[in-house]
């Protein structure tokens, strides 16, 4: 037997002992006037709270709601001590009597999470405990009459107050009135909090909470009226009538909780059946979301689709979105292909997800059943979403490529202007000067011609470098292998070109591979502080895989700087992708996969 189950069985057994004790007190009581009714109803009410509380506790062990319900049951039995003939026991019973009402108010406010949400709710519940246990205490200390305040079907002739330290019934009455006034105010506040909570709830939340909420509202409202009737000195008969309504609502509460559960379970079967029928019909695309929204009763529900290639979630429009965060009020249930290829854990392939109101998690079975029925229809839509996401991605990368090409043209113009052009200007001036000095000072002219030649060589070197950056001639003439070896030789860090295919590849593939290696080796030389690097190019199942690895400091990021980002966009345009694995302190691995049909 599980530890929790065993503990709850024990609690139920203790509850039963309390119930028997209560019945014994009632039957032996000198002042209990409705012994038969009390002896039957008392234990039923107490045990129904303990029973449903234990059930809720077992069902959701981390939700405090079950604990609170069990607490109400025991508080009810303790309040039953007021039937005791023994004065001290009866006084204790009368003193803690209202505690079960405070606890039941807490149960209602905390439903369904088990926690009172919102400052007002917490303040009101705390105030209720203070009112019941502290504001009311002076009544007992000042020798107030137990008969005046007994809540449990008792009549007159209760034993005397054993907490009394002074006999001031007049002063005691003041505290009794104060307690009731505060009680009415608190109850009014709680009713307002509940009404506001219902207003702000979503449809699925309302459906799950309706039975508890309505029963609770009746209970708290009639309790407030009972207090007021007492304060206004209304006839005893009207107070008794109100008390009966009150008791019925209180006794109904555990059953309202059960009705809520049964209702969602019963409707689940109907809803899933209806959904399957709707999905079988040929309907427009937008109706899948609507059908699921109807089945789950969540009008704001959203569908997300999984892109396994980029490992991202997208909407049907192909827009990339982040899954909902915890505490956002939204929850996500994954949809997987039924019996698809088992990924070792027995689960089907991930298709998408339903983003729904977090309240639906109270009935995870319904969400799972709906997700299961929708898998096939969602798989069809996933392909559509994938296509749209791809188009959007291409549009984005095309825009970035245009931007990059503009940027590169500006850079090229700048490089030409600042480099070779300036050197040629200087050269022209030097030649002019040398020409003038040729006759008068031939030695000076010679020096100037030497300087001019040096300027010319520099200009040539810069032009060569620039041309290589645009497209290296060795790549066109001698292929990728030769071009990569030249790159490796020019890099200040030792680079080992480990593997390159012998055959020529299509020109765009060779160019893309070359620039991936060139940019990566530039980064290795500039930032990596590496002692060596290696380059591998291999054909791999319709792709050419290019890998550059170094033993440097790592920490490279695709999203920082334009170099790698520009490469990723160039590869995107070829339907390829770029990945970087660069944990700080562990070197960097850049891998590009470029589509390349086998020849």
């Amino acid at each position: 037997m599980l530890p929790l189950r065993r503990a709850l069985t024990l609690i139920a057994a203790v509850g039963l002992i309390f119930a028997i004790g209560d019945v014994a007190l009632i039957l032996a009581s000198h002042h209990q006037t409705e012994k038969a009714v009390s002896a039957v109803l008392g234990p039923i009410i107490g045990l129904s709270f303990i029973g449903t509380g234990a059930f809720a506790w077992l069902r959701r062990p981390h939700n405090r709601f079950g604990v609170l319900m069990v607490g109400v049951g025991f508080a009810w039995f303790v309040a039953g001590l007021v039937s005791a003939n023994q004065p001290l026991l009866a006084t204790v019973g009368a003193y803690v009597g209202p505690l079960y009402l405070v606890m039941v108010a807490q149960v209602i406010v905390s439903f369904p999470t088990g926690r009172a949400e919102g400052d007002w709710a917490r303040v009101l519940i705390a105030a209720a405990y203070v009112d019941a246990l502290l504001v009311r205490l002076p009544y007992f200390l000042l020798g107030g009459s137990l008969s005046e305040i007994a809540y449990v079907g008792g009549g007159l002739g209760l034993p005397e107050d054993r907490f009394a330290v002074a006999q001031r019934p007049d002063l005691a009455a003041v505290f009794q009135v104060l307690t009731s006034l505060i009680g009415v105010a608190i109850l009014g506040g709680i009713v307002a909090v509940l009404v506001a909570k219902r207003r702000s709830s979503t449809v699925p939340q309302r459906r799950a909470q309706a039975p508890m909420l309505w029963t609770g509202l009746v209970l708290l409202a009639t309790l407030a009226v009972t207090f007021m009737l007492d304060l206004l000195g209304a006839p005893r008969a009207s107070q008794d009538a109100m008390a009966i309504v009150n008791l019925v609502a209180f006794a109904a509460l555990p059953f309202a909780f059960l009705v809520g559960i049964v209702r969602t379970r019963y409707t689940r079967l109907g809803r899933v059946g209806e959904l399957v029928e709707r999905l079988a019909g040929v309907e427009a695309r937008s109706s899948l979301r609507d059908a699921l929204a109807d089945a789950l009763g969540d009008r704001a529900l959203q569908l997300l689709y999984w892109r396994s290639q980029s490992e991202t979630w997208v909407t049907i429009e192909g827009r990339e979105v982040a899954p909902p965060e915890e505490g956002s009020g939204w929850s996500m249930t994954e949809v997987r292909a039924p019996g698809g290829e088992a990924g070792g854990n027995g689960e089907g392939v991930r298709i998408g997800a339903i983003v729904h109101d977090v309240a639906l998690l109270d009935d995870p079975g319904l969400v799972r059943a709906v997700a299961g029925s929708a898998a096939l229809a969602m798989e069809n839509e996933r392909l559509e979403a994938e296509l749209r996401a791809r188009v959007e991605e291409l549009e984005r990368s095309r825009a970035r490529l245009l931007e990059i090409s503009m940027f590169e043209r500006r850079r090229l113009e700048r490089d030409l202007h600042d480099g070779a052009q300036q050197r040629l200007v200087a050269l022209s001036l030097q030649l002019g000067l040398a020409r003038r000095k040729l006759q008068a000072a031939p030695d000076d002219a010679g020096t100037m011609l030497d300087a001019a030649r040096e300027e010319l060589l520099q200009a040539l070197a810069e032009l060569r470098e620039l041309a290589r950056g645009i497209h290296p001639a060795v790549l066109t003439d001698r292929g990728l292998g030769a071009a990569l070896h030249v790159l490796a030789d020019r890099t200040p860090v030792p680079v080992d070109v480990e593997q390159v295919p012998d055959e020529r590849l299509p020109a765009p593939v060779e160019a893309a591979a070359y620039f991936v290696v060139a940019e990566s080796l530039t980064n290795v030389a500039r930032y990596a502080q590496a002692s060596q690097a290696s380059v591998r190019v291999a054909r791999d199942d319709g792709y050419v895989a290019v890998e550059i690895q170094d033993d440097g400091v790592g920490g490279a990021d695709l999203h920082k700087g334009t170099g790698l980002r520009g490469l990723a966009d160039r590869l995107d345009a070829l339907d390829g992708h770029l990945r970087i694995h660069s944990p700080p302190g562990w070197g960097t691995l850049v891998r590009a996969d470029i589509p390349c049909a086998s020849s």
Binding site: A426, G432, L433
Partner: protein, 115 residues
């Protein structure tokens, strides 16, 4: 002797231009690498002529020429660039400069033709 301030962000051009102008009988009184330094040097040195590159790292040559021309007793300004005068159209005249010389055509004769 005509005093000249040479303004250009490329040291190689400043050095070549200084040699050339001094050989042609001009007195080079200073050099400046950008627009702000050019304005300051022109105020301090009061040259007769400012040889001013169009492409400077801060202000462009036209803006510097406008400011120099607006000062009292302004120096003569001649704009230079490695680009051709066709690239600039009417901007040269509008800036208040005397004229424009392509850097590779720079000579004493070309300068005196504008002064």
């Amino acid at each position: 002797m005509t005093s000249v301030l040479i303004v250009d962000d490329h040291p190689s051009f400043r050095a070549s231009a200084r040699m050339l102008l001094e050989a042609e009988g001009y007195e080079v009184v200073g050099e400046a690498p950008d627009g702000a330094a050019a304005l300051a040097a022109a105020g301090d040195l009061r040259p007769d002529l400012v040889l001013l590159d169009v492409n400077l790292p801060d202000l462009d040559g036209f803006a510097v020429a406008e400011r120099l021309s607006a000062a009292p007793a302004p120096p003569a300004v001649v704009l230079v660039s490695s680009r051709s005068s066709e690239d600039f159209g009417s901007l040269v005249r509008a800036s208040g400069a005397r004229g424009f010389i392509c850097k590779c055509d720079l000579s004493g004769a070309a300068l005196s033709a504008l002064l």
